[in-house]
Amino acid sequence: MSAIRFQQMVFWLGRLVLGTVFIYAALLKIASPREFADSIAAYQILPFSAINLLALGLPLFELACGLLVVTGFYFRVGLLGILALLAVFIIAFVLALLRGLSVDCGCFGAHSWFDASPAVVLVRDGLLFGMAALLYRHHLRGCRKAIIPSSPQSS
């Protein structure tokens, strides 16, 4: 197997993992919007008027981004959406911890074992963010290469 093919396979696997995680997390939240709204409220950042709107819309956004990443349709838009979600979440989570709030991540529904401790949540989301950033960078570069082909070598 050539190095390029191997690299392609790794990136494809990365896409599959990232997309599946987001689709799974979204489906859990879509099933229990009230619980997700309670999780958002626990962060004490947003006004009450915005909480239910986000509790209803964000899981659909997660689902859409996950599907875009897995299917490859408008792939970079899905990846950027995932990057934004993860960045906002990590910042909100760290702020909540600094303020001494006892927050349940709520990433995989309330009281999930995936969200066992703040350290687990931060490491997991940090890894997902890194993976998404690498994938996005890789595909942007691919795009640039397609636009500016390397100059033909003189023989």
């Binding site: 859990l28 239910n52 709107l53 950027l80 529904g109």
Partner: protein
Amino acid sequence: MLQKNIIRDAAGACLLLTGCLIAGLLLNEMRPGALPWIYSPLGARLHQVTEELSPSTINSLALDEGIDRDEMQKISIDHGALVIDARPEKQYRSGHIPSAVSLPRDDFDQRYQVLQPVLQSHLDQRIIVYCSNFHCPDSQIVAAELLKRGCQHVRLFRGGWDDWQTAGLPEEKE
């Protein structure tokens, strides 16, 4: 060129987010037990549920330390009470205390209709309600709703599913 692509992707993501927020609101209107537009905090919801209860009943629930794991285990074995799981149905399906029935807080009104015959026959018998752990409010909200609907001997298993599972006690799945 790269910058242009990033801006284009960001615009696409913003458009997608807007569409999802609108779709979320529309789907919510079609769902039974839709969320209100403005969030109502847990305390207020619990207050709303307990509003119609007599002060003594509210106090009995608030001060009730609930039953412990050993008692819960005994009840589960000899079927000494109706056990209610107040967690979302998905969590109930992935594992629950044997013989417990699902009456999720999120879907209370609909599930109550289904369980009404069973609950009516337990009005003067013991009912134990549990949710995930000591911190979750679901069991209290469901217990208060049951008290409001005439059940007289409602108690909480405050340790909930986490306590049960940590002890390695038998579980049922659906």
